[in-house]
Every structure is written in C-alpha cells, then in structure tokens.
Amino acid sequence: MKKLINAPDAVLADSLKGVAAAHPELTVDHANRIVYRGTPTRAGKVALVSGGGSGHEPLHGGYVGIGMLDAAIAGEIFTSPTPDQIQEATRVADSGAGVLHIVKNYTGDVMNFEMAAELADAETGVTVATVVVDDDVAVEDSTYTAGRRGVGLTVLLEKIAGAAAEEGQDLAAVEAVAKRVNASGRSMGMALTSGTVPAAGRPTFDLPEDSMEIGVGIHGEPGRHRVPLAPAASIARQLVEPVLADLDFTGAPVIAMLNGMGGSPLIELYLMYGEVAALLETAGVTVARTLVGDYITSLDMAGCSLTLLRADDELLRLWDAPVNTPGLRWGV
C-alpha cells in the first residue's frame, strides 16, 4: 500500500485538518468530525445536513457552502457516522426552520440517521425530514433486498435541494423537491480496480488485469457481474443501457454526470463521456447540463459511474442557481 498518509488510523483526522487549513470559509468541528459553513444558518432557512462514510471526497464535506449543504458529518472510511455525531450537526445547523437529512441508501447510514432523527426530535425538538437516495440501477429493487444504493445522484440532489433551501423554500417544499430528484434520477457504476482501505492495507477485492466489475457501488464492494475488460465504447454501453432501460429519459432536459471513482484520470473520464454522449444522442436523450470529474469517489478505485437526471425547467433553474463550495462552484 502506497498512500499519502501518516498512519492508517489517522487518515480522517489528518485530512480534516487539511480541509480546515484549505478552507477558512468553512468551520471544522474536529472532535465530532463535522464540516459547517463558516457562518451559521440564517434564520428561517432550512438546513441541509448530510454525511456518511469517508472516502467519497469531495462528497460530503466538499459540498458544504452557499447553495448546497449546511453541515456534513464524516464517518470513518466507508463507515457511517454515529447518531450522536449526526444529532450534534443537526442541532447546530438548525435555525428553527427544520433540517433535511440527505441519506444514501446503505443499511448503516439509514439506521444511524434514523436513530439520530429520533434523538434530535426527542431531545432537542428539531424538526427533521429525511430523503433517502437510492439511484443505483445495478441493484435489483425488491422488497427482499436492502434496496438500491444511493450513489451519484446524491451530488445532484444536494445541489438542487440546496438551491431550493437557499431561496427560502420551507422544509416540506425542500423535502418534496429532493424526493422528486430522487425519483427522476438513475446511476450505474463500474470498476477497473479495487480501492484500498488504509486500515485494511490491501485492495478490498482482487480484480485480474483482464477483468472489470460492472455494477459496483462506492464502498469498494464488488459489483454484480465480473466481465472481461472491454474498450470504452463497450463499457459506455454497459452503463447507458441499464440506466435507460430503467427510466424514460426522452422528452425532457437531462442533467448528466460522468463521475470518476478516484483512480481514473480526467482524460479517460472525458473519453468515456464522449462515448456516453453519442449513445444518449442515438437514444433520443437531450443532455442539457453536464458534469465530468471526480464528484463521488471510492478512495483510489479506478473506474467511473454514470448518473442521469430527468429534469424540467424548475429543476434546471435550481441547478443553475449560484453555488459556492469546495467541490462545486458557479454563478458566484
């Protein structure tokens, strides 16, 4: 394992020190591992609080700032934060207008946020609404599984719900727009290599040189299928087809994100997006906005994911609204 670290068990704490040093406009609570905006949530504004295991940077701490999150809680690498941390972030971020928890659909995250919401309501009287993101089409959705994972769509949802909160919409309205985004977006990911969790010291799974995993999530867990490595055009098809098969993306402006998993260079991500864009055009899908880059990663895993959101004028307006965070910045 070759990593830019001091010690495997100090990675998160040391990284948060760097976040604080690089971003004086943010406030970092090192004891509770929470990133806040530098100025408290203004009175009457719904606060957006998200969090999860670390290792997905810039998600979530990199999306704290004007137009997106008010607070992000960092769990250990690939491990959900605990209810007391989440409750603290919820209490501090609330300005009286309530708090929206944005939770990726992983068993641990859902349970810890659920306990935190119960505690927040019982002990501090903060009103909490929750949206659980579950956009990963690699997981067959049925009542007999934990359901689809929350992956790339989380980035788009935090941006759009953040804009709705910033312009003064109330908790019910912000929750509604967040749920509309979740219902209208789908993702599919793949990996060329496994990531390496610092504490484990070796790759989470072995992937031979001539193989790739289709349908990976963002925690280094293996995907649903291991298939022979193929040219980018074929990989693009294996991402686009299941997404388009799951939801009709024609006849509406679409926001597309070609996301890097952390270990693939931008030149490859753009190459992949070129293939994806051609397939979408052939399928009659109109892309109105695009993001290409590392937005929700899985440590040093090589690979990418595709997220499509079926938008409308309102969602596009909220997407285009100003945002000023370490990870997304425009219009300011």
């Binding site: 605990t82 349970m111 659920e114 504490a199 989470t204």
Partner: protein
C-alpha cells in the same frame, strides 16, 4: 437461579474478549461479502464498553445495559452500531431498575433485544443477517427453560443454536445489508453479523456456566496469562 449484575458484566467482558480474539475472522468474513470493517468496528465498540465498565459501575441492570447500548451506538458506526446498540438498549429497558434477573427476566430481556434488532434492521429469518443466529438462540433458551432446565443449561443450548444458525447462513443469498448487493454471489460465505452474534451467546453461556467459569472471567476478559486458580467449590 438468578443472574446477578456481576454475571451480566462478566457476559459483556467475555463478549469483548471473544470479539477481540476473532477480530481478524470477522473482518475476513466481511471482506468476502461486505466492506471489511465488522471486526474492527465491533472490537472498537466492545473495547469502549469495557473501558466504560472500568470507569463507572452501574447499580441496576437497566442502567448498565442502556449505557452499553449508547456506548455501542456512539462508537461502532456502520450497521452493527445501531443494531447491537438497539439490542442492549431494549434489553435494558425491558428489565427495569433491578439488580438481578431471574430466568423469566433474562428471557424477556433477550426477547426485547431481539425485537429491537428486528425493528431497526427490518430483516427476518433467512435474510443472512445476525438474526439468523439470534432468533434460534433466543428460541432455544426459552424452550430449554420451558423444559425445566436451569439457566446454565439453557444458555448453553442458546449458544449451540446460535452457532448452528451462524453456520446455516453459509448457503443463503443475502437479502438485507450490504451483502445483498452481491446477489447470488453472497452465497457460500458465512455471515459476519451472525458470527459475532454467535460469540454474544457463547459469552452468555460461559458467564452463566456456573461459579467455576465465573472465576475465569478476568483471564477471559483481559488478554494475558490465564492463571486463574481453580476455585474451591
């Protein structure tokens, strides 16, 4: 026969010792079908529990187990934190402010803890989760007590049922938790959560096995020379 609060503390110490001894195994099982953190998360949580036991002693069973539950919830993370945390919180809520449990009280507390895990995890038997060890264990304890066995024998049967339930998870396809994302590829692996739950009942059986075993608790809890003298009955 009643279970004194010291024996319940002994249960927790033994569980910690077993989790620490089996940390690598739990992590290895979790790498196969999860995210390779069950061993380290459970060891961190139970070490925090035992550290807290050193720092403060609880007068009553409910205070003891509510403290254990909150410690796990705030130190484990992942899914195991809320699940084991809820198990001990509900266990404590069930007993009330007593200093000892009779057989019926222990049975009811375990049943309440099990109910908490079901509610929190929304899983059922056969989903390849910790419930596949916990449900047969609690059922076995109740059956043994109903058949007139004492707590030592009943908890030994619970431990055996938990271990059998753990082994029976191997061919199952996971339907809850992170392993469920693997689909059919989750079959052929023993579930890490069921494995740690089997340790929980193995620890309970050891703690209730009688005075001989109770005297060994220090060596079981604290890694070091196992030189506890044989007690004179």
């Amino acid at each position: 026969m009643t279970v004194q609060i010291d024996q319940l503390v002994d249960w927790l110490r033994r569980f910690r010792a077993l989790v620490v001894q089996n940390q690598a195994l739990l992590t290895e099982l979790d790498s196969a079908i999860g995210d390779a953190d069950h061993g380290s998360n459970m060891a961190r949580g139970m070490n925090a529990v035992v550290e807290k036991l050193h720092g403060e002693s609880s007068e009553t069973v409910d205070a003891l187990f509510k403290g254990v539950g909150m410690t796990l919830v705030s130190s484990v993370g992942g899914a195991s934190g809320p699940l084991y945390g809820t198990f001990f919180l509900r266990f404590g809520t069930s007993t009330g402010a007593v200093t000892a449990l009779d057989a019926g009280g222990l049975s009811a507390a375990l049943r309440a803890g099990l109910g908490g895990v079901v509610t929190r995890g929304k899983a059922e038997a056969g989903d390849k989760t910790m419930l596949d060890a916990m449900i047969p264990a609690v059922d076995a304890l109740d059956s043994a007590l109903a058949a007139g066995r004492d707590l030592a024998a009943a908890s030994a049967e619970a431990a055996a049922a938990a271990a059998a339930g753990r082994d029976a998870t191997e061919p199952l396809v996971a339907r809850k938790g992170r392993a469920s994302y693997l689909g059919d590829r989750s079959a052929g692996h023993v579930d890490p959560g069921a494995t740690s739950t089997a340790l929980l009942f193995e620890a309970l059986a050891a703690a209730l096995a009688g005075p001989a075993a109770a005297a060994e608790s220090d060596s079981a809890a604290e890694p070091g020379p196992a030189s506890a003298p044989d007690p004179t009955p």
